[in-house]
């Protein structure tokens, strides 16, 4: 099929960006979206034109590197998948595809579709851990944890830190991201000891990085490739109030 791509090109953080139009012929429906961009880049490099820069790595939906706004949706129009898993079979001949980077103040553009997500790491550094040194742990079966709680903790723990929730939110809120980690530990006995310090520190780091407050819209949940639930934000709020 033939596609018209409108891709955000921005030389660096300081430069002004703009949409550039590219025509793609011979796009196979079996390609993944990033493979379609690989094919475009191959063409550009062969013409000695600077290829489109984008973050990507595992290409199996788990590392969280990739992420771009495709036709107005983070990771594209298909729910519950990352950009690398988006198949071209969801597009049709003649489509125009708009491709943009995440747009949020705490995620400045580095180049083209690459943004700086170190603000996420700063939040995790602030408190996203359980303090125990290697070698100090008791036997793994010493603490029995109800399967229900453990499974729920897992459902929160699968966040891949891609930033789609922030990009989707009109307030650029990171509440879903922060609440996923807070919830994981709130549901486990190991996480109780530092619970209050953790939630205070992580929320503080989140505010300092410039993320907005939750808008209660639910766009984050709708766009999350891992289907992290809004319930986590409720749990974050509860943990936060408990901490004062």
């Amino acid at each position: 099929m033939k596609l018209t791509l409108k891709i955000w090109r921005q030389k660096n953080a300081k430069a002004k960006g703009t949409f550039v139009t590219y025509q793609m012929d011979n796009v196979s429906p079996e390609m993944a979206f990033l493979e379609m961009l690989d094919a475009l880049n191959k063409k550009l490099v062969e013409q000695d034109i600077d290829p489109v820069a984008f973050d990507h790595d595992c290409r199996e939906g788990i590392c969280g590197s990739c992420g771009m706004y495709i036709n107005g949706h983070p990771h594209g129009p298909v729910p519950a998948i990352t950009t690398c898993h988006l198949s071209m079979r969801f597009f049709k001949d003649g489509d125009t595809v708009w491709i943009e980077p995440w747009r949020a103040k705490p995620f400045p553009v580095i180049k083209d579709l690459i943004v700086d997500r170190t603000a996420f790491d700063k939040i995790q550094v602030a408190g996203g851990y359980i303090s125990i040194n290697a070698g100090a742990a008791p036997d793994a079966n010493a603490n029995l944890i109800p399967k229900k709680n453990s499974d729920a903790a897992f459902d929160s723990a699968i966040c891949i830190g891609c930033g789609a929730c922030v990009a989707a939110c009109k307030n650029a809120s990171a509440m879903l991201f922060v609440s996923a980690k807070i919830s994981q530990f709130a549901l486990l006995p190991q996480g109780q000891i530092e619970a209050k310090d953790r939630v205070r520190a992580m929320v503080k780091a989140m505010d300092e990085a410039g993320f907005g407050n939750c808008s209660n819209t639910g766009a984050c949940e709708a766009e999350c490739p891992k289907e992290i639930k809004l319930q986590n934000i409720a749990r974050l709020n509860r943990e936060f109030y408990k901490a004062f």
């Binding site: 290697a134 793994a140 723990a157 190991q190």
Partner: protein, 639 residues
């Protein structure tokens, strides 16, 4: 070079590690802060080592090429992590895990290292659980386990099909704690360009900042490589597309011997290639073989949809050939068996390069819900990629390049042949012999990082306490940096027509065709010529648009591919040298009448450790003889 000294401690196998730990030289707490350690990589081994060393009080600098340490490729491991906990009381023990690994590795691994890996495995599970890793649990609240290939016990801990992600995020959290404490400084988006050696010792690295293009110097008292494997040498593999061998290869060219490079595991259950633009092959966890049955039609070219082929017309070839282990034979055995059926014309799908992995019986017996609980995310991933629903139609799978058992040669202390340079996790060669058993990669990486390296590195650092912080103004840093910059300029000056990826793809095809699942002398020799020709073409016709002073992903790729050309030659050389079949290394000339691998213990019971002898010079082979004291070398049988 003097004879390789693996520094294996004296005494009975089961007491070596305890004895080592109680007699190893230590560094007192006040001195640790003054000692700087560089760790490259933030996977299970790298993040584990960086955080453990930070906890001990050393000053650690941790590097990764990704934008965040949370993205290292350990994140993609699916099925599980082994530990000899014997929570199931099914006869497991440290010894049995050790024995399974030695046998699974086809008697080409070092006994003492393997035993130690099995020994620390239980600590790894305790530690991850304490860090809040949500492993699967039973209704009574205890941890659940499942079975993996090549073993007859249930010792694999798991978190659905995302065990690697959960363990990695655990490791990332322990790393973050040390970053907050100031014991670890994190340098993301950095690529190691070279290793700096001063007076014969590893003293630092040269990196490129992947955002600004800046070339940076970093000094330290010791350098730890935790840079993973080189499976992407096949271009299409289960690895992250940016995974590469460059750090290890640079260290090799500076004097670190490279061991058993041709030992590469081909994983049997991957989504087959769908189109010519494909950039990677996605793994479907080995754990699926607990419940999935592998088959092809009994008659050639049977193109009926799988569900209407009656069971008597199906060939469950793993169950037929290996009744004792059935679908859970080790990976090398399963891969070759699938290739054998496809080569004989029984393969399915349009390409004929696929076999079925069928869950119909398991769903009938256990219910869809139970299967969804165990493998839900894998099934989702499969339908996302292929559009086929594995709950109603068998998966199509085919082998793909996956894990490299080979790597930098290390001694018992995980030190390479360069003093002060360590290699941990997949980047070293030590624990898996000629074939790795499923779920022992996370186990080894975490064990190396959290529990082994932090205990062995003090043996070296204890003698370094009088060395002041390494100055990066030293001429060795200046020269190494100059060479790295010259290499970048050389790439940029070629100004040809082709992309680095297109060369990588062609190199991958050569390696897959002639040095993949099956090898022979004629093919390997042909590969050497083809690699050389392609390498010459690369240095003549590569194109990299844009400067080196900003984000330049083409430049990053070019450096990695250039190194792969050199590693590919060594890999083929190693495969040529080893005139036997063992584990994943299958030479057609050396097989039993039944088509199984035929080892030659008399001549090849050694680790082939290769020394770099300079540009255009043949590598020099050093042999570390493998002495099996605890186990008897036997023909590996899963029948």
């Amino acid at each position: 070079m003097e004879k390789l000294n693996s520094k294996i401690p004296e005494g009975p196998l089961a007491q070596k590690w305890t004895k080592f730990k109680s007699s190893v030289k230590l560094v007192n707490p006040a001195n640790k802060k003054k000692l700087e350690i560089i760790v490259i990589g933030t996977g299970l081994s790298g993040a584990g080592a960086a955080s453990s060393l930070g906890e001990l009080g050393y000053s650690v600098k941790n590097f990764c090429y990704q934008d965040s340490p949370r993205r290292a490729h350990s994140v993609a491991a699916q099925g599980g992590i082994n530990a000899a906990k014997n929570y199931q009381s099914d006869g497991d023990s440290t010894y049995r895990l050790f024995y399974d690994m030695i046998k699974g590795g086809d008697f080409r691994a070092r006994e003492a290292n393997v035993y130690r890996a099995a020994e620390v495995s239980t600590q790894v599970i305790d530690h991850y659980t304490a860090l809040g890793v949500p492993f699967a649990r039973d209704y009574g609240g205890t941890l659940d386990t499942r079975s993996f290939g090549g073993v007859q016990v249930s010792r694999t801990f798991y978190a659905k099909g995302q065990t690697g992600q959960q363990c990695l995020l655990g490791a990332y959290s322990s790393l973050n704690r040390q970053i907050k404490k100031g014991n670890v400084k994190m340098y993301p988006r950095r690529e190691m360009l070279d290793l700096v050696i001063i007076d014969g010792k590893a003293r630092g690295i040269i990196t490129r900042n992947l955002i600004t293009g800046e070339i940076e110097r970093h000094g330290a008292h010791a350098v730890v490589l935790a840079t993973g494997g080189y499976g992407t040498i096949y271009y299409l593999s289960t690895l992250a597309v940016n995974s590469n061998a460059s750090a290890a290869w640079k260290a090799h060219k500076k004097g670190a011997l490279f061991a058993n490079p041709s030992f590469i595991q081909i994983h049997p259950t991957c989504v087959p290639q769908l189109n010519e633009f494909q950039s990677k092959l996605t793994l479907m966890s080995e754990s699926l073989r607990n419940d999935g049955r592998v088959w092809v039609p009994k008659s050639k070219g049977d193109s009926r949809p799988p569900n209407i082929i009656p069971s008597e017309e199906r060939d469950y070839f793993l169950e037929r050939r290996y009744p004792a282990f059935g679908n859970l034979v080790p990976r090398d055995v399963a891969s070759r068996a699938a290739k054998e059926r496809c080569d004989a014309g029984f393969g399915v799908s349009e390409t004929g390069l696929a076999v079925y992995l069928d869950f119909t019986d398991a769903i009938k017996k256990q219910g869809k819900k139970a299967i969804e609980n165990k493998y839900g995310n894998l099934f989702d991933m499969y339908v996302t990629i292929t559009g086929i629903d594995p709950y109603t139609e068998p998966m199509r799978i085919y082998p793909a390049g996956h894990y490299t058992m080979g790597g930098l040669w290390v001694d018992y202390e995980l030190m390479t042949t360069i003093p002060g340079l360590y290699s941990i996790g997949e980047s070293n060669f030590s624990d898996h012999g000629a074939n790795r058993l499923g779920a022992s990669s996370l186990m080894q990486a975490a064990g190396d990082g959290y529990f082994i390296l932090p205990n062995t590195i003090s043996n070296y650092l204890a003698d370094e306490i009088k060395i002041p912080p390494v100055s990066t103004d030293r001429p060795e840093f200046v020269e190494t940096e100059k060479a790295a910059v010259e290499r970048i300029n050389k790439f940029l000056a070629i100004k040809g027509k082709q992309t680095a990826s297109s060369f990588h793809k062609r190199l991958g095809k050569i390696m897959w065709d002639y040095c993949g699942m099956v090898r022979n002398e004629e093919g390997l020799k042909k590969a050497l010529t083809l690699i050389n020709d392609l390498k010459a073409e690369f240095w003549n016709d590569l194109n990299i648009p844009g400067p080196d002073s900003e984000v330049n992903q083409e430049l990053e790729k070019a450096g990695r591919v250039a190194d792969y050309f050199e590693l590919a030659e060594l890999l083929v050389t190693d495969a040529l040298n080893r005139k036997e079949s063992c584990g994943a290394h299958f030479r057609e000339e050396y097989q039993t009448p039944e088509g199984e691998a035929q080892r030659n213990d008399e001549k090849y019971a050694y680790v082939a450790a290769w020394e770099y002898a300079g540009e255009g010079q043949p590598h020099i082979l050093h042999k570390e003889e493998l002495n099996f004291v605890e186990v008897e070398m036997k023909v590996r049988s899963y029948k």
